[in-house]
């Protein structure tokens, strides 16, 4: 078990300098999720319009893995259609199962090491679960 497999430099960079951290004033879909095993929580806000994720921001508390994953996810899904975003979430789940997966937002692949740390998979998937919930909610209303 190599710690460097888990804590890659790009992950630490997102942890230290999270992208899209903050909240939105505009009319946004808000999803609050927590990880009941550790108390970590994320509040994801998305501006969803015409089936497209226009903007995504997050606030919350968590470990390096959950915060860097949220940072990357909010960057990666911006401008994607619901379908593309959900498909990306699906591929992220495969990545967590240790399957070789590629992303056009390549930095996500740095999280592949999490699959070797089963206790930490829930940390990495928290933001993606919030994404799914937000889009599914909007899909039902829209």
């Amino acid at each position: 078990m190599q710690l460097d497999d888990l804590y890659r430099r790009v992950i630490m960079d997102h942890y230290k300098n999270p992208r899209n951290r903050g909240s939105m004033e505009e009319d946004a879909v808000t999803v609050n999720l927590n990880n009941p095993t550790c108390g970590d929580r994320i509040s994801l806000q998305m501006q969803l319009q015409d089936g497209i994720v226009k903007q995504a921001k997050f606030t919350g508390e968590g470990c390096s893995i959950s915060l860097s994953s949220a940072s990357m996810m909010t960057d990666a899904v911006k401008g994607k259609t619901y379908e593309e975003a959900l498909e990306m979430a699906e591929r992220f789940s495969s990545l967590m199962q240790g399957e070789p997966v590629e992303f056009d937002y390549e930095e996500l692949e740095a999280l592949s090491g999490v699959s070797k740390f089963p206790a930490r998979i829930k940390c990495a998937t928290l933001a993606w679960n919030a994404l799914r919930k937000g889009i599914e909610h909007d899909g039902q209303n829209g």
């Binding site: 078990m1 430099r9 550790c38 108390g39 929580r41 968590g62 470990c63 390096s64």
Partner: protein, 408 residues
Amino acid sequence: MNARELREQFPILQQQVNGHPLVYLDNAATSQKPRAVLDAVSRYYEFSNSNVHRGVHTLGSRATDAYEGARERVARFIGAGSTQEIIFTRGTTTALNLVAASYAREACGEGDEIVLTPMEHHSNLIPWQQVAKATGAVLRYIPLQSDGTIRIEDVEATITDRTKVVSVMYVSNVLGVINPIKEITEIAHRHGAVMVVDGAQSTPHLKVDVRELDCDFYAFSGHKMCGPTGIGVLYGKKHLLERMEPVEFGGEMIDHVDLYDSTWKELPWKFEGGTPIIAGAVGLAAAIDFLEEIGMDAIDQHEKTLAAYAFDRLSTIEGISLYGPTSGRVGLITFNLGDVHPHDVATVLDAEGIAVRAGHHCCQPLMRWLEVTATARASFYLYNDEADVDALVDGLLKTKEFFGHAIG
């Protein structure tokens, strides 16, 4: 007592984890099991396994003797007056839920009070919330001092004549604080309330005498005290248990069954519906034998010495926050390492073979009181020694270095 020698009796502790000898410091979550307990459980299955209280055959008698013998062993261990006061449950949670669902729902009405503390484990909090919702009773909390201790004057001020139940943990699984149960019980009784004690963290580590404490109910789990998972105990004073209704119904707990009505067995069996946790009880009895051979006072002393050593050594780490009082505590230390999230701390320590807990420890209200989302916790038992504390300190220094470079 010699912790290193005792450790040899625990097969699981002989392994390497991630290339390092395992340093197991998550004992407040669950303890490891000595060979004597593992053997007792497998011997039971190999030679005596049968259902209890019904078979006329030889194995049936052996299993019944083993199960009821375990009940006697437990009664002696905690100083109960009679085996009728010892109910086997799945664990502390089930035991506390039994008191809440049976005793408290009957005893509490609109405007009555249930007194707790903000440090309670979810298992000694949520059952009472449910009672309050169902009966209209009100939850009241004894406030904590800044170091997490309770003052008797605050207990006096919180418990009133409307208080029907007081339920407090003997030892906190986060703060390590030992609560003044005997004094709280005395105050509860003066107001006509019953005293319930969550003994999950005290029973494995301290000598407990329920009649000395004079509490009305006392709950604990086997798995935190060298016994198997899935077995726990509810002690209750006989006169209270007698007037309580069972909460689980079925085989084993009945006296006479008709198509439209039934009657219950006498204590303690009326609370043990279904085939009981026979092997678990046998394992728990073996665990008690093991602990008493070492001596509960010796275990207590060993852990307090180790906790003081750990507190001193951890305090030297720059940027560390230690929670709970500096003295009068058991062998567990809850901490945070600067801004490094406890999950990350636990993962780096795990890479060094050191097992600690990270999270809210089933105490979300207490985490909010501490103004943190989560903490890391190292908790010791009879097989831990100063070398384990040293390994922890080295591991934490590595964590700091790792995250210092990574995010600093």
